[in-house]
Symmetry: C2
Amino acid sequence: MDRIRIAIVGYGKIAQDQHVPSIAGNDRFELVATVSRSAGAPDGIASFGSVEELLAAGIKVDAVAICTPPSVRYDIARTCLDAGLHSLLEKPPGVTLGECEELVRIAQAKGVTLFTTWHAQYNPAVEAAAERLAGKDIGTMRIVWHEDVRKWHPGQEWIWAPGGFGVFDPGINALSIASKIFPGTLILRGAELLFPANCETPIAARLELTSPAASGAISADFDWRHSGGEAWNIEVRTAEGETLLLSEGGSRLSVDGAEIVSPGHGEYPGIYAHFAALVDGGTSHVDLAPLRLTADAFLLGKRVQVEPFES
Amino acid sequence: MDRIRIAIVGYGKIAQDQHVPSIAGNDRFELVATVSRSAGAPDGIASFGSVEELLAAGIKVDAVAICTPPSVRYDIARTCLDAGLHSLLEKPPGVTLGECEELVRIAQAKGVTLFTTWHAQYNPAVEAAAERLAGKDIGTMRIVWHEDVRKWHPGQEWIWAPGGFGVFDPGINALSIASKIFPGTLILRGAELLFPANCETPIAARLELTSPAASGAISADFDWRHSGGEAWNIEVRTAEGETLLLSEGGSRLSVDGAEIVSPGHGEYPGIYAHFAALVDGGTSHVDLAPLRLTADAFLLGKRVQVEPFES
């Protein structure tokens, strides 16, 4: 089978740290170009200033991995899908649900693969948790996602602008894990969003959720104001009384206190293995649940103004 | 064919003014009960305090029309669908997209009809506009939805609470018309939401949209601060230069200044004709686009604080 000739669009930190080595480590792919305004690319790989330039260059390309900031993702993805390229989207797949629905429509019309990745879902510990909870009755689930925005998002002004999602930028990773492992639809029932007086997006959020699969409380607590260290934990108690703890952002799983999955090879090799399977199988994988939960939180949430944020 | 034995859940103004006469005017339906905390019902019709009481009463019921306030709609609809009742939902079908997705899942699992009504879509003028625009290239579309909240929503405190949607409560009617008549996906690109300092929902909103089917600007202007009279207009200019104007909330259609559809029999008889066809055909009709556009506006919108609202 011919290798899938792939270009990376948006050559920032995540592309360099994760996508390049995962593509290099997967025999089904061959990196043939990057698209980057700064013309960055690994040694020996062609770089173009725009997708249009890439398409006009006559290089054979089968697929793209779109790693740009989310606000420009839709226009780029449309161009790529319209050109018949299989498209992998970094998370979140767009800044609105409407964008994503339209990309689905185009991919179907063109008969190409669309893959909305949520990297946290590809942790081996997350997959193990999903298998363990499948078909179970759940008691409670508690998500705690605390970090210091100054440490993890220094200088990223866009996260505070409309469409930047604020604390939901990391929080949506938690929601992507939760919706993958939970054996039933997660439905938002209430939210409190804490907006700094000088920001357009929340610095903290508390969510209350429900599910037909759960008898007890489901909650999420996102907070960017924790300078003393991170907590990226999801604890699930089943109706039978078993307690699963996913910690360290979904990389570690323990059951009733005993660790059963330790941090391993990371998320992106699994993402590329799945992308190859989708392309080879002629199918798509579109998961909008994490973005839908985020949109529902903004729609239903009570807004609370808190002190201005000084970076 | 046996008539569809239907109960109305939530016996408020819309139920009394629209649902009761439309059910009475359609031979496929027979109103058998209401569910209402105040025990209201037409003469000779049984009334129950809850859906659970209705189900326990042993009356044969095939379908429900759920006309309660939106915040309680999901729990009621779940109970009805789980009991195998075909369910018609007043607009909006829920206060979150997640609720609606779960109702779709339950309806599919139970093999019953779910119908998310958007009443404004059933104006004959709206249907005529949709037919006329089908397959056309669009230039621009401009939505203006202005009214006086004191006149149209007196005493409705819930519209100002989280999940009450504020000016999107009428605005979603405009979005439901726009998404029905427009020959392509509508995608939100930006929004400004004007929140009174003392309210949890916006009193006005300006939306910018785009669509693969449009070459020019698409905008919506919702405003509840117009005491001088209403404007409920949608103007579409096609690429060929034709101008369609839907006015009076979608009840009147003119093309290039000449009226071609005048206000007629209203919206609800068409809703019940469609519901009967869905039940008889064993299918569902779920349209979440208006709610998705609203959620996207809250997700992406820039929040502007304006003067407090004094009712």
